[in-house]
Amino acid sequence: MTSPGALALATRGLRKSYGSRLALDGLDLSVPSGVVYGFLGPNGAGKTTTMRLLTGLLHPDAGSIELLGRPFTRGDRKRLFDVGALVESPSFYPYLSGRQNLQALAADGAPVPRGRVEELLELVGLRERATDKVSGYSLGMKQRLGIAGALLSDPKLLLLDEPANGLDPAGIVAMRETLRRLAASGKTVFVSSHLLAEVQVLADVVGIIARGRLVREGSLDELLTDQGVVRVRVSSGDLAVARATLEAIAPVEGSAEAPPDGGADRWLMVHAEPSRAAEVNRALAGAGIYASGLESGTDLELLFLELTGGEPSSEGVMQGIGQPAQRDAAQAAASGASGEPGAPGA
């Protein structure tokens, strides 16, 4: 893990309650500098509460926050001068234009260099519509304007809450490239999201939160090491033999999944490295069973569900492909912005 000195953001024992409901229960985050950090969690896990605490909108009940290596306490608002944030949905004056809204925002907090507003309007592709009132903007345009607002002061640390919300596929790709470029230039990007596929293609480091606690944190490759899956499609009649055969190689998921096309076949899921797909296929063939389908990959969703105690989606669990070499497939899946799973990798 990165040494504490190189952390762009750290929280220790962060607690926050809303009345009797505990939203954060001792959150410990360690976000290294210069990375894209994916902050994942199911709805209600405490992601937005964390974002609000990091931006001074809420005050913690207990615990500490360090921003860019220095403590961030109540009243220490100038720590936020080096931080850009988009918390929840982007908020603007509806009767002002996009440009006027950015100018108004630039007047608050950290000083903004001259010409920065125009530069950002260009960056987020809103220059043509800069004089239009924000009330006429689509959700995606507002989101892009929100990202521009977060970048106004050229922050060292960028906190983005669900930045892909409302963006079209091209907008998502552009946003992703921008964030990767910012990370490459030494800035730290903290992205809160429930879109696993999006985080999988964007983040270097992932933190998973559930019920107000961090349940796993580490580099994406580290986390996915044990999350390899090979799925085989066999006929229902061969199911028992196939299961027994495959159990000899690696653990097999308890329930067999029916295919979406409604056929008599079933999918068996074997927890094995994707590189062992051929071995799985060979074992089945050795037992006289011929698979009518075979897929392999590593899956953040599996890890996510395991850690957060969630249920697999009805579409199945193999939505994203996490191996670096296979990220293009996941990018296509993530471009939908709806969070729908993409096609499993072959």
Binding site: R52, T55, G56, L57, L58, H59, R77, K78, R79, L80, F81, V83, A85, V87, E88, S89, S91, F92, Y93, P94, Y95, L96, Q100, Q103, A104, L105, A107, D108, G109, A110, G149, L152, S153
Partner: protein
Amino acid sequence: MRVFVSGLRKLVGRPASFVSVGLLVGLLGLILIAAATVGQNGSGRNAENAKALLTFPGAYDLILSFMFGLGGLVAVIYGAAIAGSEWSWGTLKNAVARGESRARYMLTTFAAIVVMLAVGLAITFVAGLGLALFSATIAGISTAGVSDADTLQRLPALAARGWFAVVEQASLGFAIATLARSQLAGIGAGIAFYFGETFARIFLPDIIKYMPFAVAQASINTGSGPAAGGGGGGGFIDPLPADTALVLVGVWLVGSLLVTVLFTERAEITG
């Protein structure tokens, strides 16, 4: 300074600013035109009363009463709309997340409102004066009294008192909407407070005369020159002396801003 200038720019482009001034000028115009029509075509006591309203320097009285009477209610609504929208639209959240001081942000926003109120009242006065002269002319009334030296001498002090009273009323709307953390709830509660105090004058005159709208009204009634001031129900209470009321207007103004700042500083911004 840049926060204040930005706040001013935001208000200049805001529909609520135009609507507020337009409402005051429009209603004042309707009253003046109606008085001119009655004065010109009517007969008897009604016509005489209508002509009296349009006769200068007394017409100044009508204009100022209207400005500082209905203007007070409009100011409550305006102040509530501005403060409430900061919460409802989430724009306060943006400023705080950028490291802006909550107290400074709210105070500079209110300072911009104070300037806008001065501009709005000035526009209303000039437009009202023009409409009064026009109405007097069509009613065949002499406008010679418009340059009455005694009245003109007293006008600046009266305008300053009126503006201060309107500012205090705007600060109440501002504070109420901040506490409500909502534009709609703030406006509703502001209006309810205004009329609630007016009706309460009937039952609790000794207490209500110290309340914010009553002192605002009393602070303008200097007894010298045009007796400006508005709001209903004024006849039920024995108003405080104008100078005492003026001090209380200041107390209510400072109190409202203090409540606004303290609440905003401590608030958990979740919207």
